[in-house]
């Protein structure tokens, strides 16, 4: 199944996987701030930061092309706003929007794909994120998989009965069928999610996720945090000085 890829990556055994999630969050935060506040020489800076992230992904033994492809998931959203900027006569702003959103997504993906979800959530909890918000995140994560699984089952069922997913725009009947299938998908996913919730309650779930594994912030995590935070700052300083 496609959805297990990230889960599979997060269970790796690289030095990056072994870092405390809080160290990764800190480095991610610095990276995002450096990126968000950059204005000068943005295309060159983007290439440099992309190379930096690529190096981190390789260090974390994450398939580089797969990660680069998955980070494009944000582009459909930002393309709309980039298009608006372009139409308004400000293509530079549109390009900056695209570059920053893609690199941000890639940075988040780097952390998520090297940290198992239970540890990720525990790290956020110890960092002060409200427990209720984390519970919502956990359910959202799980139920997205539920919807994905149901969609795949329905797709197989439709194909086995001669249904096709191509050329929907040119075939109104098929488009209507797909729209109906979407409604059924959500109804089925809702029922399935209810089943999962009941199974959790039956095993004593009282609203707080407890998971195996503990957090231990060591010297190597501190060293990683300092190094990984300084790297994008230095890259930006060098490139802005060159410009």
């Amino acid at each position: 199944m496609h959805h297990v890829v990230l889960e599979h990556w997060s269970r790796g055994s690289s030095p990056l996987h072994r870092r405390d999630p809080r160290a990764k969050f800190g480095a991610l935060l610095v990276f995002l701030v450096v990126l968000a506040t950059a204005h000068r020489s943005l295309p060159l800076l983007s290439v440099a930061l992309m190379a930096l992230l690529a190096g981190v992904l390789v260090w974390g033994r994450i398939p580089l092309l797969g990660a680069l492809a998955r980070a494009t998931v944000v582009l459909p959203f930002t393309l709309v706003f980039a298009g608006v900027c372009w139409a308004a006569g400000d293509p530079a702003r549109g390009l900056a929007l695209l570059l920053k959103s893609y690199l941000s997504a890639l940075a988040v993906l780097t952390v998520v794909s090297t940290t198992p979800l239970p540890l990720l959530l525990r790290g956020l909890e110890t960092a002060g994120v409200p427990r209720f918000l984390l519970m919502v995140a956990q359910f959202l994560y799980r139920y997205l998989f539920v919807i994905s699984e149901e969609a795949q089952h329905m797709r197989v069922a439709a194909r086995s009965r001669g249904g096709a997913t191509r050329d929907l725009a040119t075939q109104p009947a098929r488009f209507r069928a797909a729209a109906g299938a979407l409604a059924v998908l959500f109804a089925r996913s809702y029922a399935r999610a209810g089943g999962i919730h009941r199974a959790m309650l039956a095993r004593g779930f009282l609203g707080h996720f407890r998971a195996l594994g503990s957090l231990d912030f060591r010297g190597s995590d501190a060293a990683f945090l300092v190094t990984a935070s300084l790297a994008p700052i230095l890259v930006r300083a060098v490139i802005e000085r060159m410009a």
Binding site: V4, E7, R142, A202
Partner: protein, 238 residues
Amino acid sequence: MPPLIEVRDLRFRYEDGTQALKGVNFRLDPGESVALLGPNGSGKTTFVMHLNGLLSGEGSIQVCGMTVESRNLPAIRRKIGLVFQDAESQLFMPTVLEDVAFGPLNLGISQQQAVDHATTALETVGMAAAASRAPYHLSAGEKRKVAIAGILAMDPEILVLDEPTTSLDPPAQRSLAELLASLPQAKILVTHDIPFVQSLCKRAAFFQDGIIAAEGFVEEIVSRFGWGLGLERSKSRI
């Protein structure tokens, strides 16, 4: 000896108006294994979901001397292990070990104790070697065993299994029957699988239209309702 479960006049109506249970009376004694038989939609699954408070209807339910009500639910869910028909719904953690440890951790025990409970339960069902695997990579029979391990890890006094043989091949069904026969807990089996029931239970309750229409020895109930008619006998009647 007091019963493990005593249900009196249980009634339940779903939000859509369907009256699923119309006055069910039931009793389970320590060490007993009882099969719940009956047609689809007769109220069997609705009934078992009342036993640990997942659904709440009118009437009285006592489990291990405790009334099924919100303040007792944590203790009752420790006593009753419910294995759902869809094992996929029960397996939601990233690895088998973490999934099996989910219940023990909810009981408030330490991580090491939870791992010990989970490891023992996995050994009991013969799935210790799969501890680090992702649940969605397991076969249907393996998923069922891991789901049972997730319940056993909570050390319940009663096991409730809803359609446990669904989607299992015959060897997996035999393996499951042997496993269940080796477990000391009292059991309630919701199933249509008569050979499976015959290998594990002496007593059966037959659900029909929201009530228990008859109770008695498995052979007697199966014979009375023609529930043991195999395909061959059915064909000969056509």
